[in-house]
Symmetry: C2
Subunit: 320 residues, 2 copies
C-alpha cells in the first residue's frame, strides 16, 4: 500500500523522492501519507500529522531522513517522538546525509526496524531519485510506438496513428508520471505534438515539455545547465528548459532523439507500444546508436512487464 501511495507523487516531488507511508495498529490502517508536490511535507510527516502512532507499525518505502531543513523537521525525529513499535522500510536512502543513519537512530531509540522489504519495487517507484544520486542525471524512459516490424512512421513521416486509443491513453499516464517530456526537433516540426496529458482528471498533470535541438556537447551527461539551448521549452522556442528539478524524463522520440539517448547510455527504461500492423519501408524506431557488432547488443535489457492495451501490446524493458 505504501508503494502504491508513493506513485501518487511520481513526477511531482523532485528533487525529493516520492515516498509512500502507511501506519498500522492491530492490523488496521490508521493513517497514510505520500510526498506532496514540490517535495514537502514528506510522506512520514503527512502520515504522522494528528495521529497517535504510539505502538504502531509504520511502513515506509524509503529510510526516513535524518536531516532537518528550513522546510520541515527530520522524519527520524518525528518517528522517534511518535514512538511506534516497529518501522518497516523498503529501500535504504543513498543520500549521503542519511545513508543508514536513519535506521541506526531508530534502532538506538529502541524501535524495531525491518529493512529491504520490496526494495526493488521501491527503487522502481522512486527511480528518478535513485538515478539522480547514482548517475547525476534524471531517470530516462524512452517511449516508442511501433509497428510489428519496428517502424515509427511512414516514409512521408506520418505516424498518426500507429497505436489505438488504449495505448495512447496509457502513454498519457506515462506523461503524468514524468517531470518533463521531450521530443527531438524533427518530431516537434513534423507532428507539432502538444505533449500534454489529455486524461479526465489528470489535465493538471502535464509535465514540463521540451524540444531537443542544437548543441550535442556534453549530451552524454544530460547536462543540467546548457550554455547553448539543447533543451528548449516547447512553448517558448529559444528558452532553455531547466533540468534541475527533473528526476523523471520521458523521451517520446523520434528516431534521432531516441538514438541519441541510447548511444549516450542515457536510457534506463523502454516502453514499447506495438500495433498489430506491418509498415515495411518507413522510419525505423532508432537511428544509428553506434553498434559495431551484434555481440555488443546483448545483455543490456530485461523485459519486466507486458500486456495488451486494446489491440496493441505494451512491453516495458529495464536495464538488465
Amino acid at each position: 500500500m505504501a508503494l502504491a501511495l508513493s506513485w501518487r507523487g511520481r513526477g511531482r516531488t523532485a528533487p525529493n523522492p516520492n515516498v509512500g507511508c502507511v501506519i498500522v495498529r492491530d492490523g488496521r490502517v490508521v493513517s497514510r501519507g505520500w510526498t506532496q508536490p514540490g517535495g514537502r511535507p514528506h510522506a512520514e510527516a503527512m502520515a504522522l500529522e494528528g495521529v497517535d502512532a504510539k505502538g504502531t507499525d509504520i511502513y515506509t518505502t524509503l529510510e526516513p531522513c535524518v536531516h532537518q531543513s528550513a522546510r520541515g523537521p527530520a522524519c527520524v525525529d518525528l518517528i522517534v517522538a511518535a514512538a511506534p513499535r516497529r518501522v518497516v522500510i523498503a529501500a535504504t536512502d543513498p543520500d549521503p546525509r542519511t545513508d543508514g543513519r536513519g535506521i541506526a537512530q531508530l534502532r538506538s531509540a529502541g524501535i524495531e526496524v525491518v529493512e529491504g522489504l520490496l526494495a526493488d519495487e521501491a527503487k522502481r517507484a522512486m527511480a528518478g531519485f535513485f538515478t539522480r544520486l547514482e548517475k547525476g542525471r534524471p531517470h530516462v524512459t524512452l517511449k516508442l510506438a511501433t509497428s510489428l516490424d519496428g517502424q515509427v512512421a511512414l516514409p512521408d513521416g506520418s505516424s498518426q496513428w500507429i497505436t489505438g486509443p488504449e495505448a495512447r491513453a496509457h502513454a498519457h499516464v506515462e506523461r503524468a508520471l514524468a517531470d518533463m517530456v521531450v521530443v527531438g526537433r524533427g518530431t516537434a516540426e513534423s507532428d507539432s505534438p502538444t505533449l500534454n496529458v489529455r486524461l479526465d482528471g489528470l489535465a493538471n498533470r502535464t509535465p514540463a515539455r521540451a524540444v531537443l535541438t542544437g548543441d550535442y556537447s556534453n549530451f552524454s551527461k544530460l547536462q543540467l545547465h546548457a550554455d547553448k539551448p539543447v533543451w528548449q521549452h516547447l512553448a517558448e522556442p529559444g528558452a532553455i528548459a531547466d533540468l534541475e528539478n527533473v528526476d523523471h524524463l520521458l523521451v517520446e522520440g523520434g528516431a534521432g532523439a531516441a538514438a541519441a539517448f541510447i548511444a549516450a547510455d542515457c536510457a534506463d527504461r523502454l516502453i514499447l507500444y506495438r500495433a498489430p500492423i506491418l509498415i515495411g519501408a518507413g522510419l525505423s524506431a532508432l537511428g544509428d546508436i553506434g553498434l559495431a557488432q551484434l555481440d555488443d547488443a546483448h545483455g543490456h535489457w530485461r523485459l519486466i512487464e507486458t500486456r495488451m492495451l486494446g489491440k496493441d501490446r505494451m512491453e516495458v524493458y529495464e536495464r538488465a
Copy 2:
C-alpha cells in the same frame, strides 16, 4: 488428443490433410491414428486397423472422405463398416469430393455425428490443406528474428545471432512442420544458411529448401510451375523447386523476400522472435510493401500466441 496427433503429420502429408483420429470406448482410448507421410494411410484407416470399433466414439479432426482412391478405401466406408455409436468431427472437409457428404453418409447409416467441435484449432493444424483449397496456394508462415527496434541485421548484413538458442531451436521445429522452407537470394548469399532441422531425433524432418530469385511474374499467385526459375532448389542452383506438394511454406526472410510475400498478400501467419536488444541503424525486417497510408495497415493481423523462449519473446500473428 486427435488435434495433437494431427500435428504429427504436419509438413509431411501434402497434398492430403494431416488428420488426427482417436477411438474411445467407455471413456478409454482404444486406438489412435494420424495421416502417414505421403498422405496414406489416412488417420481413420490407421486408427481402425485391427480394432473392433463397434459401439465406440470416433473423434476425428476432419470430416471423413467419401472418395475411394487407388491408394485406399474411402474413410466413410471404413467407419460405416466399423459401426461406431458416434463420430465427433472438428472441421468439415471443403474438398468438393466430400464437402458434407461424409457426414450425410454417416448419418444415413444411423451413426450419430457431432460436428464443429474445436473446428478453428483443426483448421489451424491443417492450415495448408485449407489454404490450398481456398486460395490455390500453400499456407505461408513468415518467420523473422528481430531486435526490439525491428532490425534483422546490422548495416554490414550480419544477423548471427540476434536470438538465443531456445528461439533458434523453436524455429527448427517450425522448419520440421513445413513442407518447404524458402529464403531470398540475398539471404542465401550473405548467410549461406543450411535451413535444415538440427534437433535431436528430428534431423530427418528437414523440409525441401528453396531460394527465391529472378522471375517476379505471377508471384502473387505463388505459381506452382514457373517457366523461369523463381523457386530454386537450395542445393541445386538453377533447378526449379516444385511447389505442387507444398502445403506449408515457411519463409525465413530476408527483408526483400518477406516484403514480397506481404505485398502480394501471400502471408498467412507471422512468427516473430524478438531479442531484448537494440540495433539502431541496420536492416529493417521488411522492405517496401507498398503501403500508401497508415489506415490501410490496420485490421490485418491478430496476435494468437506469445511466450518467452529463453530471453527472447515469441509472437504468432494470424490474419485478423
